[in-house]
Amino acid sequence: MPNLKVKLGKLELQNPVMPAAGTFGYGEEYASLIDLDKLGAIVTKGISLAPQAGNPPPRIWETWGGMLNSIGLQNVGLEIFVKEKLPFLCRWRMPIIVNFFGYSSKEYAECAQRLSDLEGVAALEANLSCPNIKKGGLQFGSNPQTVAKITNIIRKSTKLPLIVKLSSNVSDIKEVAMAAEGEGVDAISLINSIPAMAIDLERRRPALGGITGGLSGPAIKPIALKAVWEVAPRVKVPIIGVGGIMDYRDALEFLVVGATAVQVGTANFTNPRTMLEIIEGMGAFLKQRGIEDIKEMIGSLGL
């Protein structure tokens, strides 16, 4: 079997495949469907200091080859996460990456700090790019200056490996990514869902309760690939590719353009076994071609 191990800074993964935040709940929802220990890591639903109710329904809408969501970061809040969700995750072997966000830089910092004190959390992923909340979210990831500022504050609040998750919805993603790297992040996740909209024609109203939402699924893969391809040569830290990955070939394409690991989101809804099939598929692909180490795939794009 080829070696599938990769490293995200200090964080070692048995394989490069993990769920994308918000598409896998807190793990327990899928634990009866797949063996979580086979994953490279788990990434939780984004949490914040205080519980969030989220946006009014309807919250999801299918589009051609994709879906829109306006969940609005509904989550149980840090306290309940620690009491009720984390213990379950700690029963498994795979590293736990906690996705988090705040409504101010102070909240980001406090959340990061409190998560760092917990047993069992392997890394943090700061969501600087949610399209679904009015205040904060995307706003923090909108340009290099704001990203640098917030990353700096979060970095000082945690010793855990720090991943920042960015949006492609900026004028120059390279600059934004470099700004984050400049503040000492350990990895960068690219990309979040893309601000988008759908109309319910019968009622001539927005299809979503939140009016606009985030587009995800196969429809956004080409955009995500380009983002990774643009950023990879400009930063030294590893990149986690996210966006429209449905099978092992999609996942390997992200590695070829420079990602070290991948996150799978919408595809979990289509088929909860997708991540396991990707891991198996990657191994078989490498084996068939006599490639012994998955690292040989990373950034192997010929131009």
């Binding site: 469907l33 989220g54 919250r59 999801i60 299918e62 051609w64 029963r91 498994w92 289509t270």
Partner: protein, 272 residues
């Protein structure tokens, strides 16, 4: 550090065993499973994964309409109406086609306490999850009353199966008056249900406005009332938070915390 025991929940590769067209818009599919699943409680649903054609990526939720046995269920029936792309594709599947089924999901209808009268209210497709409940309650001594409403006679899709069942009283209402009483099933309910009193449990499934009317009726008469709700779903297992409904206890997931809810728990909105 344990590898958790995994139940038999997961996508099963089923096979279409039977398909029947009912009227111009309705279809009934029987899907056989590679290994029996269960237990199944009436009111639970399945996610059916429709072959990725026409840009479809999300599976679609459907109530379990009929099944045999309880613990070791070898096949599931679904009743559906063609309303869009997914149901259109489902309607075209032929006998022998494979289809992925994730089931059973969600909670089911609780049984009425012993001696209670069961009042079932179905609006159109709403008969789908109430049908197995009828079959189940038929075996108990509780008196069974069904109020079945639809737009027109042709939309009373399960009537032929129900009419011959013993021990159930059926009241029909159609909006165009082609069968039973002309009007809304909820109006019929107000006229007909005068006895039973506190010792009645109401079960309902149908369009939103009908459910709201039923909820109001139940609240007025202080009856306990269980309803089956529908929302667009993505994961079907409680992970995406896409299918929430507003309740007195905050947003709840229809797929995991429902689809059966106590009517008085729901905060009714026009469009949600």
């Amino acid at each position: 550090m344990a590898t958790m025991a995994m139940g038999n929940l997961g996508y099963h590769e089923g096979e279409i065993k039977e398909r029947k067209r009912l009227g111009s818009l309705y279809h009934r599919l029987r899907i056989s499973l590679p290994c029996p699943i269960g237990p199944i409680i009436p009111g639970q649903f399945a996610m059916l994964k429709i072959e990725d054609r026409g840009g479809i990526i999300l599976p679609r939720p459907f109530s379990i309409h009929n099944f045999e046995g309880q613990e070791m269920v070898p096949w599931l029936d679904f009743l559906f109406k063609v309303v869009g792309k997914g149901t259109g594709l489902l309607a075209k599947l032929s006998v022998g086609s494979p289809i992925m089924v994730l089931a059973p999901l969600g909670n089911g209808f609780p049984d009425p306490p012993p001696g209670y009268k069961a009042l079932l209210i179905a609006g159109g497709m709403g008969i789908a999850p109430l049908f197995p409940l009828i079959l189940r309650l038929k075996a108990s001594p509780s008196p069974l009353y069904l109020f079945y409403g639809a737009q027109s006679q042709d939309d009373l899709i399960c009537l032929p199966e129900l009419i011959n069942l013993e021990g159930i009283r059926i009241n029909i209402a159609t909006e165009d008056g082609t069968a039973g009483k002309k009007g809304m099933v909820t109006e019929l309910l107000r006229e007909e249900d005068d006895e039973g009193g506190d010792q009645t449990v109401i079960y309902a499934c149908g369009p939103g406005p009908m459910l709201k009317a039923v909820a109001d009726f139940a609240a007025e008469r202080r009856r306990s009332c269980w309803i089956s709700l529908e929302k667009r779903m993505a994961c079907g297992v409680g992970a995406c938070l896409g299918c929430v409904v507003e309740t007195k206890g905050g947003y709840k997931r229809v797929c995991k915390d429902g689809p059966i809810f106590e009517a008085q728990e729901i905060i009714w909105r026009d469009d949600a």
